[in-house]
């Protein structure tokens, strides 16, 4: 009996080590899911994540047009009035367009905000590209200041040939302004996020949180 037990003991330890490694690896995978998910959203436009493009498209614009509507929200923790200048434009696919939003700081203190964004229908995210956007950086507004903020974008003509998106005639671009993490700290209403290590506005779809 005794020799068999010691033999087993070694084998058992080895098995347990392997299994502990598997469990540890799964914890690691759970955390790896965070950057992988972001990457996945950016690459596939999953959840209405628009693409970021450095250049306007080289190809000639398509003859077909598509309507782009603009939606603006400000989180209640940020006392800003935030509205699109035009509620919609009709653009030719493949042609860069410029749209403006207007933000007013209603408080009597300087405030910093950062905007999350996505497009609906979600499946259009893959074909909606931003060249430049106010949402790429934090925005500082002095007390009572009003600014116009621009977004330059184009719709990839591929949207008309992809069978999944052929039915799309209207794309809604939506923004929600939040108090910038690590900003003035004046906001105070959302103490939990006041100390975050100021991530640069990450180009990932955030769902607009209303009210």
């Amino acid at each position: 009996m005794a020799p068999m037990r010691t033999d087993n003991r070694k084998k058992n330890r080895l098995t347990a080590m392997v299994l502990f490694t598997v469990a540890g690896g799964m914890v690691g995978l759970a955390f790896a899911a965070v950057p992988l998910y972001k990457l996945f959203c950016q690459v596939t436009g999953f959840g209405g994540t628009p693409k970021i493009a450095a250049q306007p498209p080289a190809a000639a614009p398509s003859g077909r047009t598509i309507t782009v509507r603009f939606d603006a929200n400000a989180n209640p923790a940020l006392p800003w009035r935030f509205l699109p200048e035009k509620t919609q434009v009709t653009v030719r696919a493949g042609e860069p367009a410029l749209a403006f939003y207007r933000a007013t700081n209603l408080s009597d203190a300087p405030l910093t905000g950062t905007a999350t964004f996505n497009v609906t229908p979600f499946k259009a995210g893959e074909y909606f590209s931003k060249i430049d956007c106010f949402c790429f950086t934090e925005q500082h507004l002095a007390a009572g200041e009003e600014v116009a903020m621009g977004v330059r974008f184009f719709v990839d003509p591929g949207i008309f040939t992809d069978p999944n998106t052929q039915d799309v005639t209207t794309i809604t671009l939506s923004y929600t302004f939040f108090p910038a993490a690590g900003g003035d700290g004046k906001e105070g209403e959302k103490p939990q996020q006041a100390k975050a290590s100021a991530p640069a506005p990450v180009p990932v779809a955030g769902r607009p949180v209303k009210g």
């Binding site: 299994l19 759970a30 998910y37 949180v209």
Partner: protein, 546 residues
Amino acid sequence: MADQETAAPGGHDHDHHPTGWRRWLFSTNHKDIGTMYIVLSMVGALVGGAMSFMIRLELMDPGIQFNLFGAGEEAAYFQFYNVLVTGHAFIMVFFVVMPAMMGGFGNWFVPLMIGAPDMAFPRMNNISFWLLASALVLLLVAAFTQGGPGTGWTVYPPLSSAEFHPGPAVDLGILSLHLAGASSVLGAINMITTIFNMRAPGMTIHRMPLFCWSILVTAFLLLMAMPVLAGGLTMLLTDRNFGTAFFEPSGGGDPVLWQHIFWFFGHPEVYIIILPGFGIVSQVVSTFSRKPIFGYLGMAYAMVFIGFVGFAVWAHHMYTTGLDADTRAYFVSASLVIAVPTGVKIFSWLATMWGGSISFRVPMMFACGFIFLFVMGGVTGVALANAGMDIAFHDTYFVVAHFHYVMAIAGVFAMFAGFYYWIGKMCGRQYPRVLARIHFWSFFIGVNVLFFPQHFSGMAGMPRRIPDYPDNYAGWNYVSSIGAFITTASTLLFFFIVWRTLSAGEKVPANPWGEGAKTLEWTVESPAPFHTFEELPDMTDKQAAE
């Protein structure tokens, strides 16, 4: 019994073991730890069952019935209702079904069935149990802390984030799940090591009883799913307390990521609940049909296949989050594929009974009840797996009815089957037969009256997790609550039966079930001695033990 000569010399064993509280607190004996798990599960069942009974009392009639906080305090009462829903789910999943199946029957009978003297790591076994007991205490503390966690068992942010649950209740709940998860992972490692390394000579993996197979697959699911939950919970905890933004849109996070992480754990979790039930039902059906199980290898590998596919279907819980058509098409097909191995199991149980010499003893009655309920829930599951239908049924009582049939009540029937099957082996006394039959019939009628009408309420559009509803849902909700009364009475009868069995049950021989019971636990006397198989039984020339 042909296997009698392989019995361990347990009878004249020097049965010395620690006594008093030391025997339990410091226990390293798989049978004692198994017993403690079963007792914990019974305590959990009383608490979790009481919570569900309160839910049904509230839902018996339209309007608010029991506003404990007085007029004008409806919000506090609604939060309390949400805490009941949350607590019921957590307790039933983590502190009733899992401890009974894995911890209780798994600890008791896996070593006995494979002919091992104990678990591979007896002291780790002890810490697994006490971690779980601490987790239960922590969860109950959470429920009584500043309004409690009213998040549902899915703990979705933003409801679970600091903005909507500012107090420490959710943090305590998260820590409780961390402990329960650690307990499960340690238990799983112990089970896998035991089954891989400590089988008796000749007990090859393809001769192992199906209950051991079910525990083996479940242990692998635990090993791979629980750490993912732990990772997600840690992110939620730091989001709530340390300013990270994994699930906070304002910081670049995404609440839907939580749903992916949660369901990557949550879907295997429902198989963790039901797979040991498959194992128990296989043993019981084979024993009381006096036939080896039909298609042994098919049964074993069906469970392995269910385990694998269970990790690749999680987003069928998330059809309403805006997945595109292709993603939904994949998750629909992958989910429907699971109907194949489960179908293999159902038909193999029926084929085992077919032409068998069936005796409808109480464990067999519960096993048949399990098959009926599991098929009922499986049929609605096939319906719900379709994204098109699910978008209409999402978060309605139809889903509540579905998962209670397929997982919760079916799981409880498997637990009762296991209890009545093995109680003689565990305590040496047999259950009172007439009372146990009354228990079966009252429970079977009770749960069906309780859950079947919920299909109708759900199809009419009644949402989950809401304490009030319009008058047009009143009829079936009333019927459902009547079912809850019957089920509760039946549960109390079960506890009476436990007491009668322990105090006045008749003594049972080593094998009370006759020639159908071929597995090794029936070769040792009843109750099983403190130490068994110190000399390993030789199974080299034996048939597969199924």
